[in-house]
């Protein structure tokens, strides 16, 4: 976007339940973005927050979990109602290599689904590890299946696929397979686990981080992690950068700027 483009209004065209706790909202306009880039979503009168773009292009969309007042209000908005969007912002994933491993935990597939589709379209062989707490929370599973990628399911409770975490499945795949690049998005402890696997196997990695944001444009310092800014330097970082982040998996900044531990 040219500098100073500011907020644009978009009407909601539909809201789709993806899981019992996660919804997708589609909007009446286009948003061309790299996989992994994000927009700031303004729910008028409530809040503005960063969300990765799960459906880029025409009738673009975001896929969100209700976690606060802003997303709760968004979830009850009807087609025709309008929200404000600015962006796209940040640095997304870059598709590299012929053999690709994609690991998505929790809501992580929202950012990674466009990546899965583009990687398959590029002719790469794509393995996807999709993990969730339980079967009903597996996000965008059908979309991944349709893409032509090979899907590996994990659930914490064993209700579908392998019982255990995405990192357990990723470890097995990395031991037997040959990969040029690993892509990840999910809980930070998962990123930390995958970074360890990247180090031991030598498979490079790109992972998306999440931090509280105010400005989204690289000036307020709210999303700082060891001097890097998730909004402009990320949200996607390479394993080289991730390895140097002492705060990764340990602390994040609160809205007031204090450091708080990551659960």
């Amino acid at each position: 976007m040219p500098i100073g483009s500011g907020i644009r209004a978009f009407a909601i065209t539909e809201q789709v339940d993806e899981t019992p706790t996660i919804r997708t909202v589609r909007l009446d306009g286009s948003m061309h973005a790299q996989p992994g880039q994000f927009v700031m979503v303004w729910v008028p009168g409530k809040d503005e927050f960063p969300m990765s773009i799960s459906y880029p292009g025409e009738r673009f969309g975001i896929t969100y979990k209700v976690v606060g007042e802003g997303t709760r209000h968004l979830s009850i908005m009807k087609p025709g109602e309008r929200i404000g969007i600015r962006g796209p912002y940040g640095k997304g994933y870059s598709i590299e290599g012929r053999n690709i491993l994609i690991v998505a935990g929790g809501t992580g597939m929202a950012a990674l689904a466009p990546m899965v589709e583009q990687a398959v379209a590029s002719g790469a062989s794509v393995d996807v590890v999709l993990g969730a707490r339980t079967q009903s929370e597996l996000l965008l599973r059908k979309r991944c299946e349709r893409s032509g990628a090979t899907l590996h399911i994990t659930t914490d409770d064993g209700s579908d696929g392998s019982k255990g975490f995405t990192t357990d499945k990723a470890r097995v795949l990395l031991e037997v397979g040959v990969y040029d690049m690993m892509y990840a998005c999910g809980p930070e402890r998962m990123i930390v686990g995958l970074l360890q696997l990247s180090r031991t196997t030598g498979v490079p990695m790109q992972a998306s981080l999440e931090r509280y944001m105010k400005c989204g444009i690289g000036i307020c310092d709210s999303c700082a992690i060891d001097g890097k800014h998730v909004c402009v330097d990320g949200p996607v970082f390479s394993h080289e950068v991730l390895s140097k982040l002492s705060e990764l998996g340990r602390t994040r900044m609160s809205p007031s700027g204090g450091r708080i531990p990551i659960d």
Binding site: C220, P255, G258
Partner: protein
Amino acid sequence: MTGLEVDIAGIRMRNPTMLASGILNETGRSMVDVAKAGAGAVVTKSVGLEPREGHPNPCIVELKCGLINAMGLPNPGIDAYLEEVAFAQNGGVPVIGSVFGGSEEEIAEVAKRMASAGVAAVELNLSCPHAEGLGAEIGSTPDRVKRICGAVKASVEVPVFAKLTPNTSSIVSLASAAEEGGADGVVAINTLRAMAICPELGRPILSNRFGGLSGEAVRAVGVRCVYEIFDTVTVPIIGVGGVTTSKDALEYIMAGATAVQMGTAVWSDGPGVFSDVCDGIGKFMNANGYESVEEMKGIAHR
């Protein structure tokens, strides 16, 4: 002082550029990075006695000519912030601690604790235009500005700079009051009170409705303010508002500023803007026969 070096109230800076408060200064690490990118000094985020979350989002509006922000003075409280200030000292340039508060006593107390972290000076935020009972709401009358400066001077040993609001009929009277109160320098200007409305949604964009305008749009106002203040006060002036290029910085210097601060330019041009501006000032001095920044200070008053 030769070349780009300047001295402001006894603080020696390798060049006349400073990071403005509110930009990349919530963490010590970011301030160090800005110092490494070329800033001659860094000003911290404005901090108060207690933690504050600031205003809910949206708190920023991007315009072609600058930004409107209504962050609302978010900060972790002075005691928690001191570790960031301590880390910022690793940047190797003077660190100026920005403080705010709701009363003379409170500001003096925060300044005292800030000074304990070894800052080169404290900057008093008497000018934030979007926080109730703070900033410009207590910094808009000369009498109050004088009393606040006096209270802080009595509580700290380091130089005290008063950052003033342009949202007043006479910023000159505020500058004079700061000087009378004992301030060692004045900083002009803070943001101009502003608003943006989203027509499709029919409402103001900022959650606080009003915010402060910065960047290109306010530079001509800032230069005028510095020019007027220079005619009246004898303490050094730090110019701020819309500096993005060396030409912009030179306007402020020739209006009477000893140094300039930059904030919004970090958004449009990145932290490399500090060294770009300094390189440009150096080239201008060579081309025009100036040997020091001091020599150019206030020369437009003729």
